[in-house]
Amino acid sequence: MCRLAAITSNKYFSPMENILALETMKEGHDGSGLGLTLKNLGGEFEDLKAYPVMSGICSRRGVEILDDYMDKLGFKLKHEWTPKIKPVKGIVQRDYYFAKAYDYPKSYRDKPMHEKEDLLMNTRIALRKIGEPDESIFVFSFYPDVITLKEVGDPLELGEFFGLDRDGLKAKIIFAQGRQNTNYQIYLYACHPFFIQGYCSMTNGENTAFVPIREFLTSRGFPGYMGYNSDSEVFTHILHYAVRQLNFPLIYYKDVVTPLKISEIENRKESGALRLIKQSLRPLCIDGPNMVIGFTPDGTCFMVQDSKKLRPGVVAGIKGKYALMSEECGIDKAIPKRDKSMDIFPMKYDMVIVSPGAEEVKVWNQLQG
């Protein structure tokens, strides 16, 4: 089962903190891959927050295609980051890893964010489609203040490979996944965390209801609901669908993926709305066992799981820095100095929400609302 390490802080920190936390959980991941998503970027991207950053991997030919495509759309390159690669035995180096910050095409600069988001997503998907057949282009995210890195290999070795221990790349929210490859091929697009228009999540467990959920999402007519090389990608898209598309407050993500029984719904104040949500979003019930860690565009981080998740995740930390991880040993590594009696192991009705800036942690109980 995949191992997950998310940290949210009010100060910039290096992704190595997440990777070292993953290293303590090594018995649970098999080194088949690492996924990193950084939000609220520091370092060289600190002053570029308004500009969308495209992260991905290209072959030599892919770079030309990508640059040409971006140029034609009118995106102007503002800044480019490439990792200082240190060859590591066992990791096959690809041609070109990058995070490029662009300025919007002129016609979009004054458009509302919703429209800009659609442009960014459509651009990412178009590039994905161009580059996927010959694996010349992989684009993982294209959004302001967000960078995603993915590669096949052991997380610690990949940290070294990307030179993250030496690089100044920092962020205030970093999600990391150490991959345990199960029933899907080792493929970069199957690697968590998944990201869409400001919403990001990573999951462990297996999604037994994957096919009906995928069919429901793809039939929404939203171009971003595609891919699904991993059954976990649907969790990110459900989050996006519920919060961005349907405009539900975040807590209702829990009510969508793990709906209450009708008898339990009666005890909630908003029972009428919940009954309708349970019916209309019936195909999005995840039926697990899964634990989901996610963030939303405002920097809120959360953890939820379904009733079948036998081994809960854990949320712990101190004011200003919280970690949401699949194993406690990871948190011990990342935030050793804390009151362990305050560690939170969310149960089936719980949704743990860490406010932006890691200010406070709330456990929202679904049963009581």
Binding site: T208, V211, E215, P249, P283, I286, K308
Partner: protein, 555 residues
């Protein structure tokens, strides 16, 4: 020359027993001549008779054969096609000495002859095809193992429930946010259709009239018990022909789906009972077709229209009650379906789901797409070719109609294309449990995309010991001579059936199916929601079938 054959010189135009579907095996040495078998035979296929027998014997030390003519009493099968042995086996049931039983004759030429008077063969039951159906060739192959541990069917909490009724798309929910919470926006004029949470196995439409009083009563009692005591929200459809007036005015009405069909039988009484109803029915089913006899109307024969039936249906006694093949108001699908759904919805103040039932057909998707655009259509029930009936022409049953599996699947996938797979529930019927695998067949259809399944014939077999099978055994439902007392209005026959026993068996059957459904869902890791459309869970050993249904091929 012996005049053994009476006045006839040859036996032409007389059928031999080899032409008959069932041949009676009667054992002279065991029979005590009590006469029970001949008395009970519903079709008088056997009769007591006497024969002259030449008996040769010899006594003493040396052979001295003596021929003697004896008159003996035997039980004989008649060779009259109108009194063919149906193989029901009631004779075997009553025989104290196991001296008699019918044996299926696969070489029979029954259908060549069963058309006396120029009338095609009519019967009850379902399609006579004992082959393994598609449903029984589907296996559940996505077993949760180490990455997603399987659940404990006995201890884990399962929610085996489904929804009946039109479900609003999430984008159209009339919700508003107050203090970061979602509430129903009461100022919105958006119509919220009625939706029922029910058990995913429903009891299909079998009418009062087609069924005997103890059978219908037994089913109704069983359903009420399942709801009230076992907490299983099983619903049952009335079939065409109304419902007992007391039931219409009782609190138990909520467990029943009232059917309206082309004859509108019983609807005068139902409409008059409306002001006295204390509960709404579970739903209204508009019958446009039936899988067993697509495009054919219903018929309740005069001999079944006794006082009770006549009063419930609002007709005189002892007349044939024919429902036309189509609704008389049907000019177009808009006329027939849309108006009827509107009228029925209006009768109950739009508080009751109203849905049509059609027979399986290649044109099902056309109907489906019309319903998908009609915001008042609550579901679509599709009855496949293996569905049962109380009376139909054999040709309709055996040769007309569409198998349910691919019909249901293409309808579901059509809804998926439109993103409406959760808005319009599909109910699948026809041949579920044909080989006894009720839960497995139901689960397979659910994973192909059905929200619920409907059963009829299976329940008659399981709850009331119906003799009928796909080798044309018994299948006398249309004649009113049901030897089990299930489909008859003759008190001498239906007194054989104990309604309490039927109810008990209905409950047992549903409880067992529930356990089996859990035994299927648990290893697949599903417990919280019904795995509707979870097609990755299914496999078949036939490549063409796998391709058609969009499931995997496993061998």
């Amino acid at each position: 020359m012996e005049p053994a054959a009476g006045l006839r010189l040859d036996h032409n135009h007389q059928l031999s027993l080899r032409e008959f579907p069932y041949i009676i095996r009667w054992r002279d040495d065991r029979c005590k001549r009590c006469g029970k078998c001949t008395a009970v035979c519903p079709v008088k296929a056997i009769e007591p008779t006497v024969k002259v027998q030449r008996h040769v014997s010899s006594e003493g030390d040396f052979p001295a054969p003596k021929a003697e003519r004896k008159v003996i009493q035997i039980v004989e099968q008649v060779t009259d096609m109108e009194r063919y042995c149906t193989g029901c086996g009631t004779c075997t049931l009553v025989c104290p000495n196991e001296a008699i039983e019918p044996e299926f004759n696969p070489q029979n030429k029954f259908l060549h002859y069963k058309n006396k008077g120029g009338e095609g063969y009519k019967r009850g039951g379902r399609r006579n095809d004992p082959a393994i159906s598609t449903l029984d060739r589907l296996k559940f192959t996505r077993i949760s193992m180490l990455t997603d541990p399987a659940l404990d069917a006995g201890r884990h909490e399962f929610r085996v429930r489904t929804l009946l009724g039109r479900i609003l798309p999430p984008e159209e929910l009339p919700l508003k946010i107050e203090n970061n919470k979602l509430f129903v926006n009461k100022d919105s004029s958006k119509f919220i259709p009625p939706v029922r949470e029910i058990y995913p196995i429903m009891i299909g439409s079998m009418s009062v009239g087609a069924l005997s009083p103890p059978m219908w009563e037994g089913l109704a009692m069983g359903v009420s018990y399942l709801n009230e005591v076992e907490g299983m929200p099983v619903v049952m459809c009335s079939g065409e022909g109304g419902m007992p007036p007391r039931l219409l005015k009782s609190k138990y009405l909520k467990y029943f789906i009232i059917q309206i069909a082309s004859g509108y039988f019983g609807w005068d009484e139902i409409i008059h009972a409306l002001p006295h109803m204390v509960e709404d029915p579970a739903a209204i089913e508009i019958k446009y077709g039936q899988g067993a006899k697509p495009g054919d109307g219903g018929l309740l024969m005069a001999q079944k229209v006794l006082k009770l039936i006549a009063s419930i249906r609002g007709v005189p006694q002892f007349i044939d009650l024919a429902s036309p093949p189509t609704h008389q108001t049907k000019y177009s699908i808009e006329e027939a379906v849309a108006k009827m759904i509107q009228s029925m919805s209006m009768a109950w103040g739009f508080r009751v789901p109203v849905y049509p039932k059609i027979s399986g057909t290649r044109t099902a998707r056309a109907v489906l797409n019309n319903l998908a655009r009609n915001p008042y259509a609550a579901a679509l029930s599709i009855d496949g070719e293996d569905g049962g009936t109380g009376a139909a022409y054999n040709v309709s049953m055996d040769k007309m109609g569409h198998p349910i599996a691919s019909n249901l699947r293409e309808c579901y996938l059509d809804l998926v294309k439109q993103g409406k797979q959760n808005e319009l529930p599909l109910i699948a019927a026809g041949g579920i449990g044909k080989k006894g695998n009720l839960a497995a067949n139901a689960a397979a259809l659910i994973m192909l995309g059905a929200s619920a399944v409907s059963i009829g014939k299976y329940l008659m077999q399981a709850a009331a010991d119906c003799f009928g099978d796909e080798s044309n055994r018994c299948n006398l439902c249309n004649t009113g001579k049901c030897p089990r007392g299930i489909t008859t209005q003759d008190p001498k026959l239906y007194r054989r059936l104990d309604s309490d026993k039927v109810a008990e068996r209905v409950v047992e059957t549903f409880k067992a199916a529930d356990v089996e459904l859990r035994k299927i869902f648990a290893p697949m890791g599903r417990s919280t929601e019904l795995p509707i459309g979870m097609s990755d869970g299914l496999s078949t050993d036939d490549k063409a079938m796998a391709e058609r249904l969009g499931v995997s091929y496993a061998c």
